[in-house]
Symmetry: none
Subunit: 271 residues, 2 copies
């Protein structure tokens, strides 16, 4: 399932090289760790989502079906390079040995005396920490039972995705895509603090003299018809009609097209 | 795949009843629309993600495998009530007839003369629009090929999920979970603020069936003229012209006025 795919997302084109670079740098220090994962398809789906959002390193703790896992490879799509470099660890403790800070993705639990953060908060923190040279781990539990208390005990913070409390069950691939997406947005937010480059690809907005030229043409054309039925109503109608077009923030090309449209309508039928 | 599941997310417990209520209210007016979906499993996965994040209405345009679809039901889990109330439409135009504003989830395209927004920006806009009584549609294309140009032409804005540009392919279920999550976060963000007073003097946005009626009238009128000079150029010209009017987010009154304008111009001079 989910083999069929197509591009839906695409990076903002502006300073993408820079983003990609900075995310690679940060992404190299943000590591997803699946604890006792059960289904290979889910491992593949996580790798695939990681690849979308600039993450590259996946670690597994004692996967149920061993390793390598053909189902994981089949599901990974463009995430296959991540699957091919995934490292396996016998215990969570070993899997996080070289990291600096770890988030446990799990349901909120008020009994746990740990910071509890949203994906957005975690992303902001994690990106900052990676800039200080730290390596960050994100833990995900096995599909059926989730992280055990002993796993959560190894984490610094609890990461909980806000949901409708009546329907809070998210599968591991869904959780991973939301968290990976927020990490990517966290890097983009950092980028926003640098100078925004001009949008050179934005359509050229029409100068107002051109818009007004169109308005003159349209008014003259309408004056020849019964459109403004009652003279005293014309100012109000005409103001509203111009407001409609102004709100569209017309481009030069659009003004040209609209002038052509009015001219064609005014001239009437082909024969 | 993905049958095994467990709670990972849980709503923040604080004012959850309020959030749930407000999202139900907003969620009732935010509708996911899958255009020509192919795999039932993906339809089910979308319904499941919708349920996590307070969304309730799913519409399908001409699903490949017909309807009902057992694979969709099997995959939906807690989203089954959404599958059971999903409505089927023969065309996209019919599926959005009673909506007011539509986002097309697709890759960024600099040639399209429409606003292009991120999920976060779209969520902020959409939640605000629902508070003004508008009904919002989110379009997703078929798995393999994505939305056609003719589908995108019916939308007001392009919604693009930011990704690593070298790995931008997101499947439909991944896209849906990210967008549903951001909509939920949009509602949560509003919760922090005072409820915006309803803009009682805001003009009533036109339902899209009225906008399309205007388009039909305009196209018929222009077809009688020399406006579309060369047949093969018409699709492009006509798409751009509609985009101009869609960008204006027309009110009921404005549609009425524009129809009068076209009728008057078509009818021609007083004598």
């Amino acid at each position: 399932m989910e083999k069929e795919t197509r591009p839906v997302g695409r990076a903002s084109p502006e300073p993408s090289a820079h983003v990609s670079d900075s995310m690679s740098r940060n992404g190299a220090n943000i590591i997803f760790i699946l604890v006792n994962p059960q289904m290979g398809e889910n491992i593949g789906a996580v790798a695939r989502a990681m690849m979308n959002f600039g993450l590259r390193e996946l670690r597994l703790v004692a996967p149920r079906d061993g390793w390598p896992n053909p189902a994981a490879e089949a599901m990974a799509a463009h995430g296959l390079p991540i699957i091919q470099t995934t490292q396996i660890y016998p215990t969570l403790r070993e899997a996080i040995a070289d990291l600096h800070y770890v988030y446990a993705s799990t349901a909120r639990d008020r009994r746990v005396m740990k910071p509890q953060v949203t994906p957005r908060e975690a992303a902001a923190e994690a990106v900052q920490k990676t800039q200080q040279g730290q390596r960050i781990g994100l833990l995900f539990g096995p599909e059926r039972s989730g992280l055990e208390n002993e796993h959560i005990a190894l984490a610094h913070s609890i990461l909980t995705i806000p949901t409708d409390e009546k329907h809070s069950s998210l599968n591991i691939a869904q959780s991973a895509v939301v968290i990976a997406y927020e990490l990517w947005e966290g890097v983009n937010a950092l980028r926003g603090q640098q100078a925004e480059p001009a949008l050179s690809d934005a359509p050229q907005r029409a100068q107002l003299q051109d818009v007004h030229g169109f308005f003159d043409q349209l008014e003259a054309a309408l004056d020849k018809t019964y459109f403004f039925k009652i003279d005293e109503k014309k100012p109000h109608m005409w103001r509203n009609l111009r407001a409609t077009f102004l709100r569209a923030a017309l481009s030069e090309q659009e003004v040209h097209t609209l002038r052509g449209m009015v001219g064609a309508l005014e001239k009437g039928q082909r024969k």
